[in-house]
Point group: C2
Chain length 613, copies 2
């Protein structure tokens, strides 16, 4: 059994602790260095002649300027010139991964926490192994720079088929594929302003919070080029036409002036565009209730009295539903209405009395204000709320949901259940934790938690690629080395990227890893044909993972079959001041699932037109 006393004495550095190992922690709502541009000079106009560098030198100078320290990837012969440059720099660290997909996932979570992430892969085999991760970064808005070392320009056009290419002389197949899932692309040439091209592409990544693609031939990477002559970003870019912004400001005041009540629904794009502090400011200005989609969970303080809970359509608790669906005016901030975060599309948002703020445009009811950015819109809205008569008052109906039953109430000898698991995790969490949850029971269980102050939940419910979380835990560990990482993943989700457990330990990370072992793909079981054999996976003995790949790093392993086993494991993990990595295999019933997942699965099954079983 666990003791609540242990929780009061954090054995791990809390969020915002100044004892950073190698990097400054950037929590949600903190401006990233990328956003302010810490270049060496404040004005490009008065510079001396720029020093010479190489294309690779130029690129990595820019990445370091934007706050990147760790660069992920797998080497290949076309990319070794790029890796030479990383190896030579004191300000960057190469993180060699077991797989390119793992590198992409790590760069994704790194980008979410630090404002930019990067990976280097080789032409063809490498880049295509990472492309699912890049597509995921696009879907979930993570600014990842995918750098691909390609065959030397001087080696092309000879008629010889080069390795990692399709037979023949075409070199554009993979770049064309990348263009489907990235926001900007460039294929650099030494004589075509490669520095300008790098800047153009990186600026798109920073402005849109989407992945971008840079192909660099082997002989271009080492080609000479002038060093950067000014900062990458001169400051935050404002795009709105002043007249449009003025109209928005006027119409917002009118909308607020005629509303009897208002509330805020927060999506993940507020965090991606580093505006969570501004959302909190807006809520405080009007004392407005705030709900979050699961993709934004943890970006608004859950202990704040204005926090009205998680909104997930029909799967929401009553308090959150009332705040969203019964308000007189709903303000949505950076939301993407995806099926897996709206209870399968069962959301009921008011259509006419709504203000929608997207990264590059705003809308009031049916009127669009193109070019009004999220930051500008929040500022205008907050000013308008301050002079309005709005107060939340009665719209926070009833108390918050009862927290999960304390673990002390469970019979220690009883088989472990999802209910007990999540109650125990709830008790185990500390302020400042980074909780990484893979798609499936892990994410939907985590979305139902009440997060302590400063605790961040990182998941991927929209792209929903199983296996994402373990490499994402590595990216998070390197992006915020002074925060405790709690990785929650499933057995089916962990197998695809389990190889990166070795990378995680080799990089010095000390996470708490909780593997939910229910013998297969539980999220698929609850959608269709629960007993079908295709839901099963090959059984692994998870506690043997460190023996294979920990390379001597001590790892505490626990196989928790009963409630008592799990409580004891958490108690030991919380108490151990040496902070070794911990791997807990939580053995769960194959048909057991968190309630949020069961609600979602019913809707998804119907949408796939499968017969009910």
């Amino acid at each position: 059994m666990s003791s609540t006393t242990a929780i009061a004495v954090p054995a791990w550095p809390a969020a915002g602790s100044p004892t950073s190992r190698t990097a400054t922690t950037l929590g949600p709502g903190t401006e990233s260095p990328a956003a302010v541009g810490n270049a060496r000079t404040s004005s490009a106009g008065i510079l001396a002649a720029p020093a010479a560098t190489t294309v690779a030198g130029y690129l990595f100078t820019r990445l370091a300027e934007a706050g990147v320290i760790s660069v992920f990837g797998v080497p290949g012969d076309y990319s070794l010139g790029l890796l030479d440059e990383i190896a030579a720099r004191p300000d960057l660290a190469w993180v060699g991964m077991a797989t390119e997909q793992g590198a992409g996932y790590a760069a994704d979570s790194y980008a979410r926490l630090r404002g930019l992430g990067a990976l280097v892969t080789t032409f063809g085999v490498g880049e295509l192994s990472a492309i699912n991760a890049i597509a995921g970064a696009y879907a979930e808005s993570a600014p990842v720079v995918h750098i691909v070392g390609t065959p030397a320009v001087s080696a092309r056009g000879t008629g010889l088929t080069l390795h990692h290419n399709l037979p023949g002389n075409g070199f554009a197949h993979f770049a064309a594929m990348a263009a489907e899932v990235t926001a900007a692309q460039a294929d650099l040439r030494a004589d075509a302003a490669p520095g300008d091209e790098i800047d153009r592409v990186l600026r798109v990544a920073l402005r849109t919070s989407r992945p971008v693609y840079l192909a660099i031939p082997a002989d271009v990477a080492t080609a000479p080029v002038p060093a950067p002559a000014g900062p990458l970003l001169a400051g935050r870019e404002d795009h709105a036409d002043p007249a449009v912004l003025a109209a928005f400001t006027r119409d917002v005041r009118h909308a607020l002036g005629t509303a009897a009540s208002a509330s805020i629904l927060v999506g993940h794009l507020a965090q991606r565009h580093r505006l969570t502090a501004q959302v909190a400011e807006l809520a405080a200005a009007g004392d407005l209730p705030v709900t979050v989609l699961s993709m934004a969970k943890g970006t608004f303080p859950e202990a704040d009295p204005r926090f009205a809970g998680l909104y997930a359509g029909a799967a929401s608790a009553k308090r959150a539903r009332l705040a969203v669906e019964d308000t007189d005016l709903l303000i949505t901030v950076g939301v993407t209405l995806g099926d897996t975060v709206t209870g399968g599309g069962t959301h009921q948002l008011p259509t006419s009395r709504r203000i929608d703020l997207a990264p590059d445009s705003a809308r009031i009811g049916s009127t669009a204000y193109p070019g009004v950015g999220l930051g500008q819109a929040l500022a205008a809205l907050t000013a308008a709320v301050r002079v309005s008569q709005l107060r939340a008052g009665t719209y926070l109906i009833g108390p918050a949901e009862t927290p999960p039953a304390a673990t002390a109430q469970a019979d220690p000898a009883a088989p472990l259940t999802q209910q007990h698991l999540w109650a125990a995790i709830q008790e185990f969490l500390l302020p400042g934790d980074l909780v990484i949850a893979d798609q499936g029971t892990a994410f939907y269980g985590a979305a139902g938690l009440t997060l302590p102050a400063g605790t961040t939940l990182i998941g991927q419910p929209l792209w929903a690629s199983i296996g994402w979380a373990l490499p994402a835990a590595l990216g998070a560990s390197l992006a915020a080395p002074d925060r405790r990482v709690v990785l929650i993943t499933g057995d089916g989700a962990l197998q695809p990227t389990a190889a990166e457990f070795g990378t995680l330990l080799a990089q010095g990370a000390a996470p708490v890893v909780i593997v939910l072992n229910n013998g297969g793909y539980a999220i698929e079981r609850v959608i269709h044909h629960a007993c079908a054999a295709y839901h099963h996976i090959t059984a692994w003995d998870w506690c043997k993972l460190p023996a294979l790949m920990a390379g001597g790093t001590p790892v505490t392993t626990v196989r928790a079959v009963t409630a008592g086993d799990l409580d004891a494991a958490f108690l030991a993990a919380a108490r151990d001041e040496a902070c070794p990595p911990v791997l807990i295999e939580a053995v769960l019933g194959w048909a057991d699932a968190p309630p949020l997942l069961l609600d979602l699965a019913r809707v998804l099954a119907a949408r796939n037109s499968y017969a009910t079983h």
Copy 2:
């Protein structure tokens, strides 16, 4: 030390053994069922009204007709209707993998051995995780059917972003990406002749030996459709214009009539188009020397007196170079001149006195004969050779290369070397073995072996995606269950797909797995900066792999540090009649590499324009 006596008593079923477990073995040169079309009726015109089925039923009926028994993949909610159909059929088996990339690699080797392979993945996350494997199948000509379960048509266009998609309502991003690396594509609709579309796409796969892409929405998979009304293929398709074929036949006779000597260089496309028996017939007709590229190694019997060895450009042995470069007339059959199979493009083929046979066209010197297929061209050429005066005679200069030193000559206590390793593997191989070698030291070592009769080497040197070989060993095991599988892979190559070791054992395969552990990417080391840290990988204790994922299957594990360790391990493996899976970790020096790889690496380094170190 090993004993040669043990080799004489095969402990494993040899090639062509009739004791097949679940499938008929199809070695190179055997006609696959796909090529002859074993449909229920011989003529579509006189059929009774076809029975009703579903789109999924139609597709899997066709795949079974083409010789597919095992279908690889990972489930996802959009593809469960497809998996229901597989589960219901007695003629197909679902092989659930840990990763989609593993499924793609397994389908690739399965397709090479059986004439067609298939995998089922889910929309977005699943298909993109497999797309590197599909591109590899394209590059190396493996006819893989990539079946993707996509969101129901009825669920689209609602404005809701669906999971596994990019935000918004576009559903064509991933199909566009697939079109870059597949030979035919279809996105099925219930009302748009889905059966005809399936047939069209499958015929392209069989005709071109390239991968194809089938997107099937969840509600289309279960939609009713008439069952197939005739065979998929009515017979081998001949495309040549009779006049062009006649001209080719005439010009071939002329070329042969004026040649003082001729020899044959065989590429992998002869095997992919099931024409290795015809190549052997051509060689016998003229008693012509035969060389092979490494991609075709094992497709011509190496004990045949006409076999002149492996041709790899400047890295070739003298005998092979003379046969290719000094012949009066060179006949190339289905070659792709890739850098990694020509010693880095150092091949010296005669340009004017050459006959080139490609799958769908032929060429004599500078004259092209479009549409003359490989089978037609081989038949015409063989007939012409029979009436010519050609005899190989003096062009087989000198004896075959000395085989590697016998393992008995090594000091058993000496550290294991690449030289001893390959000599020991040479002794260990049995007739009929399927040798699967991953890119790197494994493949270039294996390419230097002399293969026993009926032994096949399967590698992927052109696409060269590390990690391919372990899942490929699974595909090979299921495609040819009565042959012994010897998997040779590197430590850097095994980490990316090691998760499929569990799948391999769960499917009942009993391979001999040899892991060359040299602490990193040896192939990159020999190309550039041998000591660079980015060549290292996280060390794994390979003999612990079965403990993690064998699920109770007994596996013999050996860590071979000395020559004697390896010899003892091979001796035990060859002697053990119970045929358990064997995992041998061969510990090698980090700078040790087979000679073929060293020759190649020098050329690749220069082409990448890296400075020499």
